[in-house]
């Protein structure tokens, strides 16, 4: 059954399926039960699956992740919700020092199939700590896998794939796109799914490759539509997986187009764009017509809501970078 539903509702459906498919899956977080989460991503799940499987936790992020580790050792598959990006840091110690290293430390004896869902990014007019993009802080840590969905269909499948993965997965949700609708096949079989750790060409093009993920995929697609009016045919790749990166898809594209622009909301300094630029340069040097360019947030704390539109990469800034690439 194909339905047109929001990205947030798609996640809700995906989580419901995950709970149905495996009795060991538990959801835990602040306000995820009775309230259904502050973004309603877990709406109705506690009612249908009970308080033991959809757990309103004490208000303690380190506790959420720390106890998820124990549950996972015991054979459960916890799906943790961190309410907002900027609230993950009390749990950062548990994630970096424990979640990421347990498999390695235990000589492969202990798997931690934990999913940590984090609504991330700006654009919703929020106060401090509610608009951050900390994905690079997790992608940098060996032992973690990091993904981000950008549309309803991927939201539905990727959250299910993350839950069945034996790796700990940090799952970044583009909160300002929660309300965007897309077609979702609610009967889709997990076995037929597009692989979780693979990038996807979302718009085929020939002149330059725009690399984006999460909330910026929509921005990149809008930029590509605008560029088409000027006769430029941009290819847009939705990276989907931030650790590991799917570089084969990226290399093949850049070798065809000769130009690459990376877009993300997070600050540029040591962000995903830096890693992508380095790898593209190493692998595609002789195909490049211009340096890999980045369109990112600035290297400042996330600013006040009234100026965030000037902070966030937008269609114009993406097109400006494309222009600069062609002007090289």
């Amino acid at each position: 059954m194909v339905e047109t539903i929001t990205l947030g509702k798609s996640l809700n459906h995906g989580l419901r399926r995950a709970l149905e498919d495996d009795a060991k899956v538990v959801i835990m977080g602040e306000d995820v039960g009775k309230l259904g989460g502050v973004f309603r991503i877990t709406d109705g799940l506690q009612k249908d699956f009970g308080e033991d499987r959809v757990i309103d936790t004490p208000l303690a992020e380190s506790g959420i992740v720390g106890t998820a580790i124990g549950l996972a050792i015991r054979g459960y598959r916890p799906v943790c919700e961190i309410q907002f990006d900027g609230f993950v840091f009390p749990a950062y110690n548990q994630i970096v020092a424990q979640v990421a290293k347990m498999f390695y430390r235990s000589l492969g004896n202990v798997r931690l199939p934990i999913v940590i869902r984090i609504p991330f990014g700006g654009g919703i007019g929020a106060v401090e700590h509610h608009s951050e993009s900390p994905e690079a802080l997790f992608a940098h840590i060996p032992g973690l896998k990091v993904v981000s969905c950008a549309n309803s269909a991927d939201a539905f499948m990727m959250i299910r794939q993350a839950v069945v993965s034996d790796d700990p997965v940090i799952f970044f949700e583009p909160k300002r796109r929660y309300w965007e609708k897309g077609e979702v096949d609610l009967d889709a079989d997990l076995g037929q799914a597009f692989p979780l750790h693979k990038a996807r060409i979302t718009r085929a093009g020939t002149d330059a490759t725009v690399l984006a993920y999460g909330p910026m995929v929509r921005t990149a697609l809008d930029a590509a539509s605008a560029a088409a009016e000027d006769g430029r045919n941009l290819e847009v790749i939705d990276l989907r997986t931030l650790s590991p990166l799917d570089m084969e898809t990226v290399y093949a594209s850049v070798k065809r187009t000769g130009r690459a622009v990376v877009v993300h909301e997070a600050p540029g300094n040591l962000g995903l764009g830096a890693e992508l630029a380095a790898r593209i340069t190493e692998e595609c040097f002789y195909s490049l017509e211009a340096p890999v360019l980045r369109v990112t947030g600035y290297d400042i704390p996330y600013p006040a809501a009234r100026v965030e539109e000037d902070y966030l990469p937008d269609l114009d800034r993406v097109l400006d970078a494309v222009d600069r690439s062609f002007g090289w």
């Binding site: 380190s62 106060v127 401090e128």
Partner: protein, 395 residues
């Protein structure tokens, strides 16, 4: 059960950090609390707890009227802020409705030299400290991130990440000790505000450990408003919160947080103990969040109307009004005047909020580092160049 508490089953409880409290009226939770003014406006002369502390207040009529005026004013300003948010003039608002007594009482208990570390809901404390109520509106309107000079106002910036400020407050209090500013009635003390939800955070528990170990001059003031967004108190604790103090080795006491007199008396005593060098204490102000967690929240999803109604009967302001009228400390003319002056203040606040200019986008590059940074400076220049390139276009 939403307002009640879960006792620890058959396991004997440790001796409480403070005292079992006399239970004055029928409205107290199990274990009682310190109450000096009942919901009906009856004055309790004094309360002596099991550990021998006696609490009372000795206000002049004028001081009673001032307390009432402050309670009414902070509620009126809060209502104006809620309206401004509904009208799209604020991005979000965290209402203090129902917690006026806990905030005005504790705020007045601070002496001039004392330092306060608020959460993001302490608009009433801020007002009571004599600070212009406009100050936090930059944060809620989205024109800044809530910036002011904490040392100028003896009032730290609002802290959004739950519980973080309790450690900052502890460190500040340690500094007071290191500076030799305790041990006398002129000494300094710190008050750290937080809520029932925050007591689950590691930071708050670490703050309790540190303040105990270093005998820091601090009062942990927990407004137990019964909810952390949707989660009721029993999701955070299985014993009354004030009893947690015992495990950390300092006194804990529960007060009727809707009673401005008890709040004042107990907080003043605790701060004075701290400034005298007697170390930390925990006050649990038992109150109720009458509104939503913030304007983004819908409390009808997780609590029933009858519960809210039962708390309306314990309103922090109605009892003061009843007391003032009964004691003939104030009359209807006074009450009308206060309503009028609060309304004027609220309308003035509204005008000034609406007049707040949007920041120039380029200012987002300010204040990243005290002495700047070549990289940020470079990005600022690039930002200006980029925006200048649109001049003359319809961008």
């Amino acid at each position: 059960m939403a307002n009640g508490e879960r006792e620890a089953g058959a396991v004997p409880l440790p001796a409480p950090g403070g005292a079992e409290h006399p239970t004055p009226g029928g409205d107290a939770p199990a274990g009682g609390f310190v109450q000096l003014l009942t919901p009906d406006g009856e004055r309790v002369d004094s309360v002596t707890t099991a550990d021998g502390m006696t609490y009372s207040v000795d206000f002049t009529d004028e001081e009673y009227r001032k307390l009432y005026a402050d309670l009414v004013t902070v509620r009126r300003l809060d209502a104006e802020a809620t309206a401004l948010q509904r009208q799209g003039e604020l991005g979000i608002w965290a209402s203090l409705l129902g917690q006026e007594a806990a905030q005005v009482g504790s705020g007045h208990a601070l002496r001039k030299q004392d330092m306060a570390f608020p959460t993001y809901r302490e608009h009433g404390v801020l007002y009571t400290r004599g600070i212009d109520p406009i100050m936090p509106f930059g944060l809620f309107r989205g024109v800044d991130q809530g910036g002011w000079d904490p040392n100028e106002y003896k009032f730290n910036t609002y802290t959004i990440v739950i519980g973080s400020q309790t450690l900052h407050a502890t460190g500040y209090a340690m500094g007071i000790t290191m500076d030799g500013k305790t041990g006398s009635p002129d000494g300094e003390a710190v008050i750290a505000y937080f809520g029932d939800g925050a007591t689950s955070q590691g930071d708050v528990n670490e703050a309790f450990v540190w303040s105990g170990v270093f005998n820091a001059p601090i009062v942990f003031f927990c407004q137990n408003n019964q909810y952390a967004i949707s989660e009721p108190l029993e999701r955070q604790t299985r014993i009354p919160l004030y009893r947690r103090a015992a495990g950390y080795g300092f006194p804990g006491i529960r007060i009727d947080g809707n009673d401005v007199l008890a709040t004042y008396a107990v907080t003043r005593a605790a701060l004075d103990q701290a400034r005298n060098g007697q170390g930390p204490s925990l006050i649990e102000a038992y109150t109720y969040r009458m509104g939503a967690h913030t304007s983004s929240d819908d409390p009808t999803r997780y609590r029933i109307a009858s519960e809210v109604e039962s708390w309306k009967a314990k309103d922090p302001i109605a009892r003061v009004k009843a007391f003032l009228a009964k004691q003939q400390i104030a009359d209807d003319t006074f009450f009308a005047e206060i309503d009028e002056s609060a309304k004027k203040l609220a309308l003035d606040l509204r005008e000034r909020v609406l007049a707040m200019p949007d920041p120039q986008p380029v200012t987002m590059f300010d204040n990243v580092y005290p002495h700047g940074s070549p990289e940020v400076d470079g990005q600022r220049a690039e930002f200006e160049r980029y925006h200048a390139s649109f001049e003359g276009s319809d961008h």
